[in-house]
């Protein structure tokens, strides 16, 4: 419960920031723009003809849910990668602010365990990422659903995947901040993890191109642990666009991503427990 209280505190702090206000306004504006200006005559026409004649008039028109798949695919990728980039930049100074002189002493004087402070910060950021991603994707689903009559919850599930991916990146940012209280370094660590996650996605191909040596071994070791973010993004896209997906593979990928985040949080907790303030 203490961690949840810390998380809620972080969400209150986020609400007061312009970054998140701007994000909320931008997402809302974009959804309103879609709602008022999107004209889906082709889809509307196909739907109307189907209702009227029992089949489309023009037979090379795809059904509405099939026609919308690319839209959901692109939206899921925007939420995934855009969310990662925005999250790394906007959340970089949460942990440094937590550890700032004066505030950390105050927090440590409260009946809160050190690891609960870290867990609360992590959960707060995760909730923020999840909320933003779900808001954007659910909004898109609502807009397109209202326009076309196609209702699907998969883009929202896909957005949740994006939030989990960001969670693994933020765990690394938090761990770095516990060592060095710097927003810039935290953001750099986040960006590095995103790049490593991309490299891990194409690990086998890249290893094929490398000659034997220390560099290859180092790369192989690093990319064996980091979650392959590209695969997660592909899975998110496949979910959003109702493409086939191996369920076992996705579950393993998710479990691995969560384990990686938990490992980084454990390292951060280890360091945080022994640090003097």
């Amino acid at each position: 419960m203490t961690s949840v209280a810390v998380a809620l505190d972080l969400l209150r702090e986020a609400a007061a920031r312009r970054w998140f206000l701007a994000l909320a306004l931008a997402l809302t504006g974009l959804l309103l723009l879609l709602l008022t200006s999107l004209r889906l005559e082709v889809v509307d026409g196909a739907l109307a003809a189907t209702r009227l004649f029992g089949q489309p008039l023009v037979h090379d028109i795809q059904s509405a849910d099939v026609a919308l798949r690319p839209v959901f695919l692109v939206a899921s990728q925007l939420v995934f990668w855009g969310g990662l980039a925005f999250g790394v930049l906007s959340c970089a100074d949460f942990a440094p602010a937590l550890l700032s002189p004066g505030r950390i002493e105050h927090l440590l004087s409260l009946p809160v365990r050190r690891w609960e402070l870290l867990a609360g910060t992590f959960l707060g950021v995760l909730a923020l990422a999840l909320g933003s991603a779900v808001y954007a994707s659910a909004g898109l689903v609502l807009v397109l659903g209202a326009k076309t009559g196609v209702w699907t919850a998969w883009p929202v599930v896909s957005a949740a995947l994006a939030a989990v991916a960001f969670g693994s990146v933020y765990a690394g940012m938090l761990a770095v901040t516990v060592w060095v209280r710097s927003a810039a370094l935290s953001a750099a660590a986040g960006a590095s993890l995103v790049v490593l996650g991309l490299l891990a996605t194409h690990r086998r191909t890249l290893l094929d191109l490398m000659g034997r040596g220390v560099g290859r071994t180092l790369f192989a070791g690093l990319t064996a642990v980091v979650p392959p973010l590209g695969k997660l993004a592909d899975a998110a896209g496949a979910l959003a666009s109702s493409a086939p997906l191996a369920p076992g593979g996705l579950l393993r990928l998710l479990a691995g991503t969560l384990a990686f985040a938990a490992a980084l949080l454990a390292v951060a907790a280890w360091r945080f427990e022994r640090r003097d303030f």
């Binding site: 086998r204 191909t205 064996a224 490992a263 980084l264």
Partner: protein
Amino acid sequence: MERRWLWLLAAAILVIAAAWLVRIPEARPPVARPELEMPRQLRPEERQRMLSRLTRPPVDAGAARAQVRDPMLAALSAAGAGSGVVLEVNALRNSPLGELLLQCLAEREGRTGALEALRQMGIDPLRDLDRVGITEHGVVVSGDFRRANWEGLLGSATGAAYGDRGQITAVDPRQEGGSTLVATRWGDSLLHLGSSEEDGQRVVDAVEGRGPTPRPLLSPEQSYGEMYGVVSGQDLAQALGGSEGWAAALADAASRVELHLDARRDVALVADVSGADARKLEDLGKTLGGALAVARAQARAGGDEDTAELLGFARVSPTHGSALSLEVALPIEVVARRLAFCRGDADAGR
């Protein structure tokens, strides 16, 4: 143990779990490129084999030369061919690769195939054949043909005598209008199949050491591996096809390719490419290396793991002076998987 160390222990366990979980199992674990000894020179047993094949030309063979020669290599060089390949049939037959190929042939042809037909003519291809050499001027076969039924094979038990031990027989053209086949026997150990009597005479002259010495296609020191040969740049370009410009550029850069295949266990192939222009050869090496890497990456990106795996077994060595080397090391289990289609396996080629 202090509580804070438990965090580190938990982190270590979680990292291992993450590494295990994010490694999504692949359909088949990739087969590592085996570190094979590439065929680069005569091995002791091959040196023994090479020395045992060297013969002295007959003493009364006109302007006889004193030097010893390998009849098969002399026959291949007779017509001045630019390209030729020799298969060590006997050695290949007794290798794991040969076993696989024979199984394949037996499954495909059954007992009524070409092997059985030859056996009925007194030549057991698995026992009597030693080597088969191929050039653009014909095919040379060496082995033990003492039990051969020449009348059944060539239509005549004897041919026109030529030289010391040669017999030349013109075999009737095939009914479907093929060109005339001229079979030239040298004793009971060498058979040349060509298209003209002159070719046959040149072969006997070369083997018996008459006339001018032809430029050797392959020297005895090059007779290592279960398959060896040389291919001229022009023949290589012609065999690979492609546009005229591409073929001309390839022939210009690579004047000669020397091949050696070792199939004693796994399959190791070396193709040494030589050319007059070192810079062009270097470019060719980089082009080949780049093409292999791109093809492998494309195959992997396209989900074609079989092709990616096969391409992973090939490597282009850096150019040294006026030569570069293409090396292929294929594990025998990969070859067996590729030949599984012969046995009608469902996973053939996978």
